[in-house]
Amino acid sequence: MHGRPRKAPTPEEQEAFSVKASKLRSLQSQFLQFHHAKIYTKEALDVSAKLLESNPEYYTAWNYRKLAVQHNLNLPEVDNNEESVKSILDEELRLVENALKRNFKSYGAWHHRKWVLSKGHSSTDKELLLLGKFQKADSRNFHAWNYRRFVTTLKNIPNEKELEYTTNMIYDNFSNYSAWHNRSVLLSHLLKEKAKGYSPKDNVFTEEYEFVRHALFTDPDDQSGWFYHLWLLDQTVKLETLLVSSWPPHGSYLSLSVDGSFGDCSLSPFTSLQTNTRTLPLILYFSEAVENICSSTVVIECENIASNELVWRSLSGDGAGSAQAWLTYLNFPEEHAHSEKAYQVKVSLVCSQGNFSSTGVHHGDSSHIEFSVSVPPRRSEHVDLKNEGKISWSDESFCSHDTQFLESVLVNLFHLERTKIDETVVDYQWNITTINNEISHCRELLSTMNCKIGKLTLARLLMAHDTLMSNAGTSLRNVSHHAEVLQLYDDLKKMDPAHLHYYQDEYSIVLLKQIISNQELLLKHCRKYRDPSFPRINNFCMRLNNLSLSRIGSMEQLLWVQVLDLSHNQLKTLEGLEVMQLLSCLNVSYNKLCSFTALEPLKLLRSLKALDISYNEIGAHSIDTRRYLCSSPLNHRSGGDWKTEESEMHCAEVAGYWEAYAIFKDLNLIQLDVIGNAVSDKKIKSLLIKLLPSLKWLDGESCR
């Protein structure tokens, strides 16, 4: 029982309970008899009222009251007599009030009141007074707040007036999260309507920042104001949807090798790409999830490519219609196959307001990227794919690149960032000033006390500052706050160990940002694969192993990577990898992947050939935290093919390992390592060999 002490009742109490129980029992049975016999006399109504006054949760009695009201309003003596109608309904309002005094949280009672008022015969004048009394007694009761929104709509009370009410409630008690919440709802409406005094939103937000600062400085350990502050921060940073990167990148000159003809695989991954077909993946990466990317919103100008026939698909791990990254394939025709042919490709976004953005944020008028692709002549002899070896991830397999070469490659990466905005007209001045202002207030607060959420907020503000600066086109090379933010998260891990893994996840994302935005750091992670007998991959490898990463990010900067080593980290999820469409070899061994369902993002990687998931925790947990983030019949997103394909496999074989089935049936792996997981027994191995017809190496051994 909520909030009731655990103790055996005294004999007197026992006796009293027993009397109450038998009284209530007899009321209940009398009531049910009347209800089933559809009797709505005064005596019957009295029984139901008594029952509800002692137990407002007895929902059937509220239903009965409604039936009774309908019945009695239709009686000939009542028929449209305003006085009688009012008296019948007033009786209901009185009963609700009594019931609420007994139990303020009774859903049935509150709904009954709404039902009566919706009939339109009762005065609503009393309602706000009544609410005032209730809300004073319990200012966080969400039933009362919901009812308040109902009444203010019914009475057409302007949002401005209700906003004032929240101001008063907050001044009464800064810790009133319910009031802060309602404030965010009302303010969102006012800003959306551009109500008088609420546009431009800059001034409004400046005032709100000041208002919430009172609360934060009064009691920095209270969460209520901080959540509101986070919303303000979010509103200050989210300005527009931007195209942040692409593959191929803007301004690049790319050579396709259709048949492995490069021979030398030590070319920059930015200038050469080996493919089996004359097909090039084109990826657009946005600053936030967007919808509606299709041939009518993206125009491709390129000789021999019919822009309007291109099919775009969202690259989202959860298969949604909105995603940050979108993919299409450009097919270069055979007709020019007798000689090398260079194609100029121009990609433009046709933007009308609200076209892409899932949040309705306005974005720039138009953006475009341009690159060129050189497609070689077709050759008669083909490289024999059958002799392909296996990749080894040992440290000895890698060596460093020539520094000059590396620098020339990485220029492309840093070039990406500089070209990401085209013709944008958003003025960031107010936003940057505001964030700077908040940063200094936050520092001031932290100088006087050690406050957990204050520290976290400072970390968020600093990252927001960096994002704004880079969106505004300012280079961050020397002024980024990464080091300070990493230090803050380190402090937080010690200060608030209960949320250690939250801070570690945030830390990981910032760490990757730091590495990828700093040429010197990045150089250390770019390695060369030694083995020259591995002609099918580019030997340019990104090694992000041994970094304690629990999460990955900065994917927009990694679209070009073909060989990636993420081993010896603490990854529980591969979310984000789905955008790496060029990825051919991936090592995620020695991480914390807990289930096959955690591999879902890999399903979208058509070019993935070698995968190492050995020494994780797959099969070691009874609760699968990726169960609903992967498509399956459980969430009705198996793509409809589950039933037909299921017959292809022996049912009993699949049943125990439906997760493995769901993931691997879509992959085209040649090499796979699963050893060192709780699940890796003979049965799963034979299932994997069946599911992956192209597989040659399983756990280092030839399997064909």
Partner: protein, 315 residues
């Protein structure tokens, strides 16, 4: 920290099931079907469902069905979504969904969908995202989701999303962990979790853990064992459960046991009830407490039961 008192909780639940005349039972009479679901699911997680007379339970459940197709909280009470889901869940526990007139029950549920995609709890029109969850969960268990407009149902739930990443009972209503479970659960079952801002909501949810290790349901409120379910299941569905201290939470739940008479309460040393006993045990199952059957975070039934009903292949 004590161990989980499996035998005592089993005894406690079986005793509550038999008791009908004390004050508590009389006050709870109108939601006895919910009580049956809480008690029986707990027994199943504890591996003790065999202690119950199946036939007796099923015959009683079926007597709670109203001619309209929905179930009341007890025999003779009006039909309502709240009890219809419990009835379906109890039948699923016993692998007895086939005793239902599936068409009739699912038509009752589908008939309560409103024009805007929301659901009413019954014919009297109270709208709440709790009922969206119930409709979606029930129809998924009955394999009848195509009876409703799922797109509209999802759209309505998304319209109840707040700036803190959480969800309320209607558009504009404050986020509440119980309501968040309903909305996230419904989105999970319909494959629509991309509508959830997982990092924002995950942080809000993990901040529900207070110093004692327990979880509250809204900022600046007291912890309560029932949120071990509402918060934890939501965190699992969006894969952010590692953001809380699981050990401290398990300790909090175990501290709320009545180690003498069995049962679990909202907070240490409060009076126990079936509701909190269920949420405590289910919470421990989500925390992978040893010896307990794993429970599914969306359907709120043992994983083995859900897999049997939903997955096409039976092991």
């Amino acid at each position: 920290m004590g161990e989980l008192q499996v035998e005592k909780h089993t005894k406690y639940i079986l005793a509550v099931e038999k008791r009908k005349d004390d004050f508590e039972s009389v006050v709870m009479e109108h939601l006895r079907l919910n009580g049956a679901y809480w008690g029986l699911t707990t027994l199943d997680i504890l591996g003790k469902l065999d202690a119950v007379d199946q036939d007796e339970v099923i015959s009683w459940v079926m007597q709670c069905q109203h001619e309209a197709g929905g179930f009341g909280g007890n025999i003779g009470h009006d039909p309502h979504m709240l009890y219809t889901l419990s009835a379906i869940q109890v039948l699923a526990l016993f692998d007895k969904l086939h005793v239902l007139d599936v068409d009739k029950v699912s038509s009752y549920i589908a008939g309560l969908q409103n024009e805007d995609g929301s659901f009413s709890g019954d014919m009297w029109g109270e709208v709440d995202t709790r009922f969206s969850y119930i409709a979606i969960c029930s129809l998924a268990l009955l394999r009848q989701l195509d009876k409703i407009d799922v797109g509209k149902a999802v759209k309505y739930i998304v319209s109840c999303k707040n700036v803190d990443g959480g969800f309320g009972c209607t558009p504009g209503a404050e986020s509440h962990a119980g309501q968040i479970f309903c909305c996230v659960g419904a989105l999970a079952i319909t494959g629509s979790l991309h509508h959830v801002d997982k990092d924002l909501l995950g942080w809000w949810l993990c901040e529900r853990q207070v110093k004692s290790g327990g979880l509250n349901g809204r900022p600046e409120k007291l912890p309560d064992v029932c949120y071990s379910w509402w918060v934890l299941s939501s965190l699992i569905m969006i894969d952010r459960v590692h953001w809380i201290d699981k050990e401290k939470l398990a300790k909090f739940i175990l501290d709320c046991q009545d180690t003498e008479k069995g049962g679990i309460s909202d907070r240490p040393d409060d009076a126990v009830d079936v509701f909190h006993t269920y949420f405590g045990v289910a919470g421990l199952s989500l925390l992978e407490y040893s010896g307990l059957k794993p429970i599914d975070p969306a359907y709120a039934l043992p994983v083995s039961v859900v897999n049997k009903v939903i997955l096409p292949c039976r092991p």
